[in-house]
Amino acid sequence: MIVELGHFALVLALMVALVQSTVPIAGVYRADGRMQAVGVPAALTQLLLIGLSFAALTYAYVVSDFSVVNVFENAHSDQPLLYKYTSVWGNHEGSILLWVLILALFGGLVAAFGTNLPQRLKALVLSVQGWISVAFIGFILGTSNPFARLDPAPFEGRDLNPILQDIGLAIHPPLLYLGYVGCSISFSFAVAALIDGRIDAAWARWARPWTLAAWVFLTLGIAMGSYWAYYELGWGGFWFWDPVENASLMPWLATTALLHSAVVMERRDALKIWTVLLAILAFSLSLLGTFLVRSGVLTSVHTFAADPTRGVFILLILCAFIGGSLALFALRAGSLTPGGIFAPISREGALILNNIFITAATATVVVGTLYPLVLESLTGAKISVGAPFYNLTFVPVVAPLLVLIPFGPLLAWKRGDLRAAAERLTLAFGLSILGTIVVLAFVGVSQALALLGVWVGLWLMVGAFAELAARIKLAQAPLSESWRRLVGLPRSTFSTALAHSGVGIMVLGIVSASVWSGEDIRSMTVGETATIAGYEITLDGFRSGRGPNYEEASAQLTVRRDGRVIAVMSPSKRFYPARDTQTTEAAIETRGFSQIYLSLGDIAEGGTTVRIFWRPWVTLMWWGAVVMSIGGALSLTDRRLRVGAPRPARRRRLAPAE
């Protein structure tokens, strides 16, 4: 009964979404406040219904109700309880339901907390949200219904794909979806503004926090996904430039650009049209990501639930939303009032430069991801675009941006002073060069490009705090004065510094893990010792065991440094009988920010092939993403709102007043 109730709730949610997508917008055109107000209860009840539906599916998973096809295909009664929960979204149907649930959650939040939104705008936003809901609930009911039943019910399920039975997967998709779907809010705001034909300065104030939240979740989601692939796939790689990874990177880049342009719009009432376009593009790229992953047009190491027949439906959704919103943009953008003016060397100018670079970088990823599809449909030739392509396009485009980042926050609004900014960065520059020289002393001069990368990382880390230092007059005023200023600083200053230094930390991790990694594949017999990066790794023996729904054969290896035991690692091979599938479970030992990574090949008589990686400073990459997210989250808590006060440059202040 609970399962069927969940099914009915989903069907009813579709109908409520239909109401939500028509009545409020009709109210706007008829200038009828009561019809506009229908959007709020519709969005809230929709959230309730989809929540009910999701809870019912979760219930079916937890109690192993194999009369539900979806549960039968993706669960096993012996799974640990945690994986019974994560199995809910470890498959196509359930994950789309989660997507819709998050969409309804965001819609519900707008309805519940947008009490200070102008009613017209709120009605339009909720209507646009309703359209997206209708499309995706329709997709679920039409092509991927998780509530289809089996009668008679099989006694045992087919188990979740073992590679997905992992804590990383428990967190990764929900985070990523929070990001993807969070983009829908700024999209809805943008489309609402276009329909309405005007953008208030207040528009950015409402749209920006949502974008920021989406960006934080996307950042964490991508980092989590990267770490999951790193330890679960057993190849020791962290980013494969795989189309599915790009699918999440593209919206992340677009949201990053949107965040920065929304700042200009919020503070300076400028760049409106561009910001609206970016909001549309960010969500379009999210939809594209969903399409690429869910339709099965791509072959990918990450695609675990692909069905080409569903592709057509998603493609239609994609065309309707992207095409429709861009057409609307073309029609209505002209009616939006253009914003204020400013000099190229200014905070606004710097933010625009950021947008230009990020847009270009996004474009390279889009081309690299879609070119193989286009080429194949035109000529039939099958190609793959991998790391070499992106190293030659994405990296050179992003590199200058990274070098320029520390300058941005030091420039004043309206009219900035580049030389003053440069002066303030002298110390940061010196420190980063010093740090690079220290690294140089350790690794030698063999890798000039890598050293450049290290410098960029350090430069970003230190330079990010130059603005902070300048604003509290560090070393210029007494410490107590600096402290007083530090406490009084708006949180957004800290968040900018944190986010930018997070980029630096990440660059450092990526460069180090890519360039100075050690890798050794060797067959080892019991008692044999391998050496990597000064660590001696000895194979002690093998052990076999049984998990709840798998059998496991693991190897015990002792890691020593200078004869002292520092860790015992046991990488393993697992066999899941329900799926007749084997997985490789890597063992990872973290030393500071560096990691020793072991994964096994086939175990034969008294020996096995072992893949040994040494990944120096590798965790910095993910810590960088975490620091960036903390920066973003901090900015979310800063409810401060202020127009960009023109800050006269220092040298001008020294000149006699006119």
Binding site: M1, I2, V3, E4, L5, H7, F8, A9, V11, L12, L14, M15, V16, V19, V23, A26, R30, A31, D32, G33, R34, M35, Q36, A37, V38, P41, L44, T45, L52, A60, V63, S64, D65, F66, S67, N116, L117, P118, Q119, R120, F147, R149, D151, A153, P154, F155, E156, D200, A201, A202, D269, G488, R640, L641, R642, V643, G644, A645, P646, P648
Partner: protein, 385 residues
């Protein structure tokens, strides 16, 4: 009963949701209009600015510039007319209300199309606890499987579940189970033949290499094993070694009691081969037992129908044995069928009758007793010495 509750709950949910959505239509206008919302924001901004001036975060001249800019924007705001008017026409409201009322009805319509309201929840834990008599076959098999997963050395268990798998068409599982039984209980000709036969079924009648090996081993253990000889003859035929196949079939039929079930198939194959090779046909005799047509028909049937057919065949066999009590093969077949059908009492009864009927046939009695041991029927019915 259960589904009635479901309909009531669904109706309740639908009614509640509809009512909540309808509320705004019956209320006055309460929303915030655009102009005042924006003015509120600029007021916020001005206050924020004042706070910063107080804290000395912003210089007076900069603050003044910012103030001027905000003022400029507020002025710009005043000149714009707010489009949200209050004109409400009752007709439109009624239309919107009707649309909203339609939503739950449409939901019920769509749900009836998509849902399975009569199917109750079926959690596995509840199924494990259902009494045996009420449990469905899948649950029973599931229980045995769990038992065997925990006690993989229960050879008898494997032997019980294997024919059931075969009956449900899960031939791969059947072959695996027979192989497990063989592993635990040790090789006999019959067990080797069981494995081989299941492998043949699993491969759609093709005598694959592992099956052939199993039959060969069976013959090593018991050169007279009929099933092994039967399938090996068929294997020769599949390999195109027609002459040898003819030899094998003839030898097999010579040794066989005329009324054995498989002789029809053997004779058909032999006849076909002989015709193809231009040989004189061996004596055609239409024996009892299922004809090729019957077997073909069995392939087309559903599980239930096939079960009925099997039961029918078993009853026919039992009736025939009343008339021809000397048929050893018939008795073994009957007893084995009862065991496969899980009718143990019937099997024991048939064993008793066979012993009475075959009391003069020493070889036959030995064969029946051997099979009874193999099927685990022995203990219950050890004949009084």
């Amino acid at each position: 009963m259960n589904s009635l509750i479901l309909w009531v709950v669904m109706a309740g949910v639908a009614a509640g949701v509809t009512a909540v959505i309808l509320i705004p239509l019956f209320r006055g206008r309460t929303g915030v209009d655009s102009g005042s919302a924006e003015r509120a924001i600029y007021r916020d901004q001005l206050e924020e600015l004042e706070r910063e001036v107080e804290r000395g975060l912003i210089g007076p001249s900069e603050a003044e510039a910012a103030r001027v800019e905000i003022a400029r924007r507020v002025m710009h705001l005043e000149t714009r007319s707010d489009a949200a008017a209050a004109g409400v026409r009752a007709g439109r409201l009624r239309l919107a209300g009707a649309g909203i009322l339609l939503a739950p009805l449409a939901a019920f319509g769509l749900y009836v199309l998509l849902g399975s309201p009569n199917l109750p929840d079926n959690p596995q834990a509840a199924r494990i606890d259902t009494p045996v008599e009420e449990a469905d076959m899948a649950t029973l098999i599931g229980r045995v499987e769990q038992h065997l997963a925990d006690n993989p050395d229960d050879g008898r268990g494997w032997e019980v579940v294997a024919p059931i798998y075969a009956r449900f068409g899960r031939f791969d599982d059947a072959a695996e189970a027979f192989a497990q039984a063989l592993r635990v209980l040790g090789p006999t000709a019959a067990r080797e033949a069981n494995v081989g036969e299941a492998l043949v079924w699993a491969n759609g009648g093709l005598i694959v290499e592992p099956a052939r090996d199993a039959f060969t081993r069976a013959l090593e253990l018991d050169p007279a094993n009929i099933r092994a000889r039967f399938y090996l003859a068929r294997a020769l035929e599949q390999d195109g070694r027609d002459d040898e196949a003819v030899e094998a079939w003839r030898a097999l039929l010579d040794d066989a009691p005329p009324e054995a079930a498989w002789t029809a198939a053997a004779r058909a194959s032999l006849t076909e081969l002989e015709t193809r090779l231009g040989l004189a046909p061996s004596g055609p005799a239409q024996p009892p037992g299922p004809t090729a047509e019957d077997m073909a028909a069995a392939q087309e049937l559903t599980v239930e129908e096939r079960e009925d057919m099997i039961v029918g065949m078993v009853e026919g066999l039992a009736a025939r044995l009343e008339d021809e009590p000397g048929d050893v093969d018939g008795w073994t077949r009957l007893i084995r069928s009862y065991v496969v059908l899980d009718q143990r009492d019937q099997a024991v009864g048939a064993l008793g009758r066979a012993r009475v009927a075959l009391v003069d046939d020493e070889a036959g009695l030995a064969a029946v007793d051997a099979m009874a041991r193999e099927l685990g029927l022995q203990d219950a019915t050890e004949p009084a010495q």
